[in-house]
């Protein structure tokens, strides 16, 4: 299996390089010029050239690309932001924390709600309760995150004044004791986590419910019942285990979806994450930040796909024992 994992990792490297190269080309070949932001009516052509030189934009595209790649591969240096001159690696590292916190709790929320409701409704398939929950989850699945976020803010922040609608902390966070700080952070995270987690919970719910209904109607469940095995054992040991299997590969898709969902949620709730840094970079044509963010996104997507493949192999003996394997 180890050979398979190594082979999988090695095959991911060209994918990563091709992806990053394509991203570099798309960003740099888009019409317009990042130096335009610095234009002012009294600026001379010489000054404009100095600004282009400051960002390396006076060089040809291949030279810009190879210079960037060399810096990244050999020095792990993504360059400086065109917008504020900050080190891109520092920008991403400081933004990664809030994104990980938000994504982690959204994932926990999505899995717990999705799995529990999926099982609950599968056991009551085609009842009124099942139809109500199913329809509600379909609404969350099809609702855009920004709209959901704004509705939550409208209801819980403005109307009911129960929860804060922006930022990671209150302004007076530093003045609170440890428990107060914890409570403050939790209160600030509830709405963003719900906004990001609900559509994902609906996705998980859909998979689990379908998987469970299939498993409950399968021959092996029937055989287990015939052997007199207890219903709870059948449910937890056989049906759930089998219906959870597709969830492993689904996680490989959910993680990137979390990242892209975080973009919207971070802007709506003013959270200082990678998504928001990327949005600012897109509007400001901040190529170095965009490239650093895109590289990180590619890396995460590929990494989680590999992890999902490995777990799938570990959990499913049919794949583990097949000749193809990883």
């Amino acid at each position: 299996m180890l050979n398979g994992i190594i082979r999988r990792i090695l095959s991911a490297i060209p994918t990563l390089l091709v992806g990053i190269t394509l991203c570099f080309l798309i960003i740099h070949l888009a019409p317009g010029n990042p130096a335009t932001r610095f234009l002012n009516p009294s600026q001379t052509a010489a000054t404009q050239e100095i600004i282009r030189e400051r960002f390396g934009l006076n060089q040809s595209l291949p030279i810009q690309y190879f210079h960037w790649l060399k810096q990244v591969l050999f020095h792990f240096d993504f360059g400086y932001s065109f917008y504020n001159g900050k080190d891109c690696t520092e920008v991403l590292i400081s933004a990664l924390g809030p994104t990980i916190i938000l994504s982690f709790w959204a994932l926990v929320f999505a899995l717990s709600v999705g799995i529990s409701l999926g099982i609950f409704t599968a056991l009551r398939a085609d009842t009124h309760v099942d139809r109500v929950i199913n329809s509600t989850m379909m609404i969350f699945l099809s609702t855009p995150a920004f709209w959901l976020g704004l509705m939550f803010i409208g209801l819980f922040t403005i109307h009911l004044n129960w929860l804060p609608g922006s930022h990671l902390h209150s302004l007076y966070y530093d003045q609170l004791d440890s428990f107060g700080q914890l409570l403050d952070s939790v209160r600030h995270l509830i709405l963003p986590v719900f906004t990001l987690g609900l559509p994902l919970a609906a996705t998980v719910f859909k998979y689990i419910r379908a998987g469970m209904i299939d498993a409950l109607q399968s021959d092996y469940t029937l055989a287990a019942r015939a052997r007199g095995i207890r219903q709870s054992t059948i449910l937890w040991k056989y049906s759930l285990k089998n219906s959870l299997l597709p969830l492993v590969s689904l996680l490989g898709v959910i993680i990137p979806a979390l990242l892209s969902g975080a973009v919207i949620v971070e802007v709506v709730f003013a959270l200082p994450g990678v998504g928001r840094a990327m949005v600012t970079a897109v509007f400001g044509r901040d190529y170095p930040i965009l490239m650093a963010g895109a590289s990180l996104a590619f890396f995460i997507v590929i990494l989680f796909n590999i992890v999902a493949d490995i777990f799938y192999r570990i959990l499913d003996p049919r794949i583990r024992n097949s000749a193809g394997g990883l």
Binding site: N84, D87, V91, I158, V267, R276
Partner: protein
Amino acid sequence: MILQICLLCLNIFSLFSCQKNHHGQFEHSDLYPKNQQIQDGGTLVIGIRAEPESINPLFALSQSSRNIIRLVFSRLADINEDLKGFTPRLAKSWEISTDNSQITFHLRTNVHWQDGTPFTSKDVVFTYQMHINPVVAWDGMAYKQNISSVEAFNDSTVVFSFYENHRSMLSDAVEGYILPAHILQNISPQNLFTSDFNRHPIGTGPFQLNSWIDMQTITLLKNKRFYESGKPHLDQIIFRIIPDNFNLLNQLKAGEVDLVESIYPKDFQAIIQNWNHGHSDIRPISYLGRRYDFIGWNMIDPESYRNSIDRGESQDAIKYNIQPNRLFGSQKVRAALTMALDREAIMNTVNFGMAVPMNGPVSPILPSYNEAANIVWEYNPQKALKFLAEQGWTDSDGDNILDKNGIPFKFEILTESGNLLWEQVATIVQAQLADIGIQVTPRFLEPALLYGKLLPAKDFDAVIIGWSVGLTPDFSPLFHSSTFYTPFHFTGYYSREYDRLDELAKTAANDDMAQKYYDKIAQLLSNDLPYTWLYYRMECSAVHGRFKDIIYDRRGLYNNPEDWWIPLDERQYIDKVFKK
């Protein structure tokens, strides 16, 4: 669905209820009586949409950066409300030499940088060197073009020498915030853009940076070494970064944010109504700002311009030999298009009354503004059709579109995508010009494409955008032939008469002479119409009513932050919590 219908109804209701123009009552600063006992302390929370790029005056471009810089740094002198005189700041006085070639500034001797280092004339000389250094590429470099040297006579005296005697010598000299030489001289100019100073500035202003949490907050504390004793009155100012407009306004309403600038006119109307009815402590404030919107007509033929450039023709040859635009090359056509537009309706619809008419190039906030000098093209579709007919544009084939020699009068009007106001203007212009048989296609483009490619290449028909103006009139980058190839001069306007008047206005010995030339410029440009000026916008801001003595006027909102204060009995939780 029901909720969406309710929201739609609410929007429609607010649209109709906001037609009344209320702005007059918010144009003046609400100052407290002088004999009031001013109490120190309190916190001001300012909501901003975008994170400042830098708090280094050399690299600040955004409004939020400039606002923070105003609080952290000082100039030698600040311009007064009349836009003529100056109030001493780091300079306590100045004198102009008898031959008008030098200005000597006498600096305050009680000023310290926020790290405790004394401020001296060396800082002023160093700042000038940074301002003119091409590697730094400071965006105000043009102000220093007439300065030949800046020399320190002693620690508290500095002499500015000038090439020519201009009216703007003093304003040129004091333009730009003074930088700390003892910190920045150790950093090479090439590395300044990425230096740590940009996020950890040391200034001489009334407030100093305490913390900057990425994409969250920037906290400034009272500078206890500030040179004006007893000031500032507020303990701290927190800038809270809230990118979403809906969230920003809600935090303002909820009292989590005290001050928001540049509120959309529609949202501003709700703030006015709540304030007028006593439903809210949020005080609307508005004043004539710095921005105007216009339609820019491409007066030259894009293809002949492109071919000339490709052929490598000399710049003069291109300028003089270029073909006029097939549609907008004629002054009569531009005048007709201007008369076909009900600009007042456009102004009121998109700005909800928070704008004033504009008919010529001079901004109404400037002393040189004279409305009588402009030629006003009133809304008159019939006259517009007559003008167009004189130019050969008639509906000869009865398809309701004007045509000439078989070519229909069709064009694209570009604007910035995402700018809802300009997108609305484009749609209204499309509808109004359709009424006289002109087919307009609005096209909304990403800013980098619009400003970075199409406008500099003069590859467009017409464009709806806006400019932000300075406190001194300068139209050269837009209309003077010397700037014909620069990105801002995208209309291709060329007039020897304009060039002559522009140069005379700039070099006029006194304000009266300059006024004469500015009036002639206004008359010429409002007749030639390289732009159809649409309206001049009012700035809409709001601040919690507990903040007193905020002076706002045509210079902006941050004129006297060191004087802002909160009466003790109006203090709120946020004002007290930081006292722990």
